[in-house]
């Protein structure tokens, strides 16, 4: 944002909004018309919440996988090789 000056153009807002729109999973089905601000915000919030839930779930499952990992296990070897490469 620095160096932009105090004026943010309509184009910049336009671009930001359409990028946000295309990020959302449901946007592919929708035709490319303008979506309302409230709908965009609602879907963005839903999307971020669902991503948070996925990270939480994956952390859960990864912790279950790693409990059985001693230094000789294949999982440990994979992690070491990922870090070495």
């Amino acid at each position: 944002m620095s160096g932009r000056g105090s004026r943010i153009t309509d184009e910049e807002i336009n671009e930001l909004v359409s990028k946000l729109q295309s990020l959302l999973p449901e946007s592919r089905r929708r035709n490319t018309g303008r979506v309302s601000a409230s709908k965009l915000l609602k879907e963005t919030c839903s999307y971020i919440k669902s991503l948070h839930r996925e990270v939480d779930d994956l952390s859960d499952r990864l912790s279950g996988l790693m409990v059985t990992m001693d230094s000789n296990s294949p999982q440990a070897e994979i992690i070491r090789s990922l870090l070495r490469s």
Partner: protein, 221 residues
């Protein structure tokens, strides 16, 4: 918008290092403790891999509020963590914020009748205002952002979150596959090589990470 490959690489490396540091893999601690440690590693890794954005600083700040996270953050971030946070003189942002919210609404909304209001009181209590507040709570550091920054940071944050999910998913698939492989001799290199390819050009970032961690005793997995 997609996160770059170099971001995914840096994220994976940083997360695995973090997991090693927190000794999750040693099997000690409860399931809940291990899960929290993995989640912490993942979030710190995401912020570190992304670099300096408002949301990354906000994320580190909110993580450091919890006492039990501090030693991990200190270890991983080193000097950067000790540096006092910049005081944000945000008083100048407020007039600009009203203007930008008006213009964003003008662009987005099909109903134009409520745009002409000279002050922001018409926005208070509206659906847009309420949902903006929700978004501000979801995006780290969002509370102090003006409307444009919020949208900009949201875009960046959501992109990184998506990548975080994708990489963690791939890691899990790889580890699960190796677990099944342990029972038989059948080789399933596909997932592992996919991950390895992703971190292939990591050499340039490894020096930086190693330098930061070089003074600390090495933990063996």
């Amino acid at each position: 918008m997609q996160a770059t490959k170099s971001f995914e690489q840096a994220f994976l490396k940083q997360m695995l290092l973090g997991i090693q540091l927190s000794a999750v893999s040693h099997g000690s601690g409860s399931l809940q403790e291990r899960k929290s440690a993995i989640k912490l590693s993942a979030d710190v890794a995401m912020a570190v891999a992304r670099g300096s954005k408002k949301w990354t600083r906000g994320l580190i700040a909110s993580l450091s509020k919890e006492e039990h996270n501090r030693s991990f953050l200190q270890f991983v971030l080193g000097k950067e963590f000790e540096r006092p946070a910049k005081i944000c003189h945000s008083s100048w942002k407020i007039p600009r914020s009203k203007n930008i919210v008006r213009r964003s609404l003008r662009f987005l909304s099909k109903r134009k009748s409520n745009i002409r209001a000279p002050n922001s009181s018409v926005l208070a209590g509206t659906l847009v205002e309420k949902r903006t507040q929700v978004l501000k709570r979801l995006v780290p550091g969002g509370q102090s952002m003006d409307a444009f920054s919020l949208l900009d940071e949201t875009l960046d944050y959501a992109t990184c979150l998506r990548a975080q999910v994708d990489v963690m998913q791939k890691l899990m698939t790889t580890l699960e596959a190796s677990k099944h492989r342990a029972d038989s001799d059948a080789q399933r290199p596909k997932e592992k090589f996919h991950l390895l390819a992703m971190v292939g050009s990591w050499y340039s970032t490894r020096k930086g990470l190693r330098k930061r961690l070089s003074k600390r005793p090495k933990l063996t997995l």
